[in-house]
Amino acid sequence: LNPFARRFRAGDLLFRGATAICSGSVLLLLLLLTAMLVRGAWPALAAHGWRFALSPDWDPSGEHYGGLTFIYGTLYTSLIALAIALPLGIMTAVYLVEIAPRGLRGPLALAVEMLAAIPSVLFGLWGIFVLVPKLRWLEAEYLGKYFGKLPLFDGPPIGIGFLAAGVLLAIMVLPLIVSVTREVILQVPVAQREAAYALGATRWEVIRLAVLPYGWRGIFGAGMLALARALGETMAVTMVIGNTPQIKASLFAPGYTLASVIANEFSEAPSDLAVASLISLGLILFILSIGVNGLAQLLLRWLGKKYGGGTR
C-alpha cells in the first residue's frame, strides 16, 4: 500500500469510531438524564410516595407537594391544542398539495414553515398583547354570554387561562402538523388519485377516499409529534396560562403546567423538598413525553401490522 492509501484507511477507521461515539453518547445522555432526574426527585418521592402524582396540593408554606394539578393542566392544554391544530393542519396540508394554485403552493408552504422558526417567547408576547384581549372579548361577548351555563364556559372571562394556552400551543404546533401531513400526502401515488378520478369521484371524494386513508399513519404520527411538543412547551404557555394550580373543567379558568411551574419556581424554591418536588414534576413530564412517543410508535406498529398499507 502506498502511504496515501494507508492514511485514507486510518481516516476511515477514525470516522467510524467518531460516529459510533456520537451515537453512543446520545444513548448515554438519555440514561444520565434519567438517572439525574430520579436522583434529584428522590427526596420528594421518598416523602410523598407514589401519591405525589395523584395529590392536588401544592402548598409551599405547609411543605405539601403534589403534581396532579400540573399534570392535568399539561394534558388539558395539549389536548385543546391538538383539537384545534389537527383539523386545521390537515386541511392546510390538503389545500397546499391538492387544491392551491401551483404558483401559490411554494410560498404558502414556506410561510407555514417560517411559523416554526419564531421563538416561543415571541409567541408568548403576542399571546399577552393580542390573543388574550381578543379571547377575553370572545369569552365575555359570546361564549360566556350564550353558553355560560355549560361547565366548559363557566367563570369570569379573564382571557388568560387554559383556552389561551391551548390556542397558542395550537398555533405553535401547526407548522409541524402541516409539514409532516404535507409530506405524507405528497407520497400518495399519483396512480391512486387518477384511479379515483377515473371512477368519477369528485375532488372531495378523491381526498377523502383515496388520499387521506393512504396517509393516515403519517398524519397520526404528526399528531403525536405535535402532542409531545405541546406537552413540554414552557415559555409561551407560562405567559398566558395564569399559573394557578387548580383543576377546573372551564376553558376560561387559569391553570398551570408541569413545564411552567418548574420554570417559575425553580430559582426561588424555598426548601430542598420544594426543589426535589419540582424535579419530580420534571420526571413526570419526562415520562409523559417519552410515554406519548413510545405509545405512538407501538400503536403505529400494531395498527400497521393489522391493516397494512400506508406510508412507511
Binding site: 409551599p60 408554606s61 399577552i128 384581549p133 369570569p156 399559573n243 419556581e265 430559582s267
Partner: protein
C-alpha cells in the same frame, strides 16, 4: 516545528498576561435578591472605578437562592429581601451570620382602572387578595374612596408565580393587618398558597399582566409601578393616614421602626406619622468569621463605602436612603467584622 511555534506562542501570551494583570487583584462573589440588583450593580461598578483592582461579581438569582448559596459557603456574601429564619440560621454551614440592611424598598398595589390614586386599608387589600371582595364597587372599597366612581367590574387578582422577596414583604403586611389572612394563608413567606387570582413571573410579569387585564390588581416594587406608569394605590398606615409610597415615606418607616441588634426585622405596618406601611429592608448576608484575610478586608472596605458614599446612589435609582442613625449603627457593626 508547528508544535514548537505553538508552544512558544502560548508561553508568550501567558507571560504577557502575567505582566498585564494588576498585581493585587481581588475578586469577591455574591448572589441573591433581584430587587436591589440595579443598585448593587451600580455600587459594584462605581466601586470598581475607585478601586480598579477589586472586582465584585453578583448573581441576581433571587433571595432564596442567595440564602442557600451563602449558607453553603459558595459565595463571599449573600443578599436577601427577607431575613433568614431561625431554622435557616441554624442550618447554615457558614457561622456566625450577620444581616446588614443596605437599602429600602416598598411594595405598592397596582391596578388597571382609570381612577388614579385609589386608597386602600389593609383589611380591604387582604379581602381583595383573599378573593372575598370581588367587584370594584364593593362598599369596603367605596368607603375609603368616596369621590372615585367605581364600576361593578369584577376584580382579577394578580400575584407572583415565583418565590420572591416582594411577596414576602406584601404578605407579611397582610398577615399583620388581617387576622383572616393570617389564618387562611399563614405568616410571611417568599411563596404562599394564594386563595385567588393569577400568577405571573417577576415584577415585570405582574406589571405586564395587570396592564393587560382591565379591572385587575397586583403588587410590585415601587420602581416597577413608576417605570411602567401604572396606577398604584395609597395605603392606610398604622396611624390611620393614607400614604402614597415615595422615597420619604419609605425612609420614614425605617426611621420610626424599632430595630433589633441583629437587624432581622420587618418594618411593615410600622407605627408613626407619614410612614408608608408596606416597606422593607433588603439585606446583605456576611459572616463574622475570618476566612481569607484579603477578601475579608476588601468586603469590609466595600461595606463601609456602601454605607456612606454608596447611599447617595440610591435615590436616583428609586431606592430609599437608610436613615442616618441606622447607617451609623451599621458602620459600627461593620468595624467589628474581621
Amino acid at each position: 516545528m508547528y508544535k514548537k511555534t505553538a508552544r512558544a506562542g502560548l508561553a508568550l501570551i501567558l507571560a504577557a498576561a502575567a505582566l498585564y494583570a494588576p498585581a493585587q487583584e481581588v475578586k469577591l462573589s455574591g448572589a441573591g435578591a433581584t430587587f436591589p440588583y440595579p443598585l448593587y450593580s451600580k455600587w459594584f461598578n462605581e466601586y470598581n472605578k475607585l478601586h480598579p483592582e477589586i472586582k465584585i461579581n453578583y448573581q441576581s438569582i433571587g433571595s432564596g437562592g442567595g440564602i442557600r448559596q451563602f449558607s453553603e459557603g459558595t459565595v463571599d456574601f449573600g443578599a436577601t429581601d427577607g431575613p433568614m429564619t431561625d431554622a435557616q440560621l441554624a442550618g447554615s454551614k457558614v457561622q456566625p451570620v450577620r444581616h446588614l440592611p443596605m437599602t429600602l424598598g416598598a411594595v405598592v398595589p397596582i391596578y388597571n382602572l382609570p381612577a388614579k390614586g385609589l386608597k386602600f386599608s389593609g383589611e380591604t387589600l387582604a379581602g381583595i387578595f383573599l378573593g372575598e371582595i370581588k367587584t370594584w364597587n364593593d362598599p369596603r372599597i367605596a368607603k375609603d374612596n368616596p369621590s372615585a366612581s367605581l364600576s361593578s367590574d369584577s376584580i382579577t387578582v394578580v400575584h407572583r408565580a415565583d418565590g420572591s422577596g416582594t411577596t414576602y414583604c406584601f404578605v407579611d403586611y397582610l398577615a399583620k393587618v388581617s387576622h383572616e389572612w393570617k389564618e387562611k394563608v399563614g405568616p410571611a413567606a417568599t411563596s404562599v398558597t394564594w386563595p385567588a387570582g393569577l400568577g405571573s413571573k417577576g415584577n415585570e410579569g405582574v406589571a405586564g399582566t395587570v396592564k393587560s387585564i382591565p379591572g385587575s390588581i397586583g403588587y410590585v416594587e415601587l420602581i416597577y409601578a413608576t417605570q411602567n406608569k401604572i396606577n398604584y394605590g395609597a395605603m392606610k398606615n398604622a396611624a390611620g393616614e393614607f400614604v402614597t409610597a415615595d422615597l420619604a415615606s419609605v425612609s420614614a418607616a425605617a426611621a420610626t421602626a424599632k430595630i433589633p441588634s441583629d437587624y432581622r426585622v420587618s418594618i411593615t405596618n410600622a407605627a408613626g406619622k407619614g410612614v408608608y406601611p408596606i416597606s422593607t429592608f433588603t439585606w446583605l448576608l456576611v459572616t463574622a468569621k475570618a476566612r481569607d484575610a484579603k477578601k475579608d478586608a476588601t468586603l469590609k472596605a466595600f461595606l463601609n463605602w456602601a454605607m456612606t458614599d454608596g447611599q447617595s446612589f440610591a435615590e436616583a435609582l428609586g431606592y430609599a436612603r437608610l436613615p442616618a442613625d441606622l447607617a451609623k449603627r451599621e458602620l459600627a457593626d461593620i468595624q467589628k467584622l474581621p
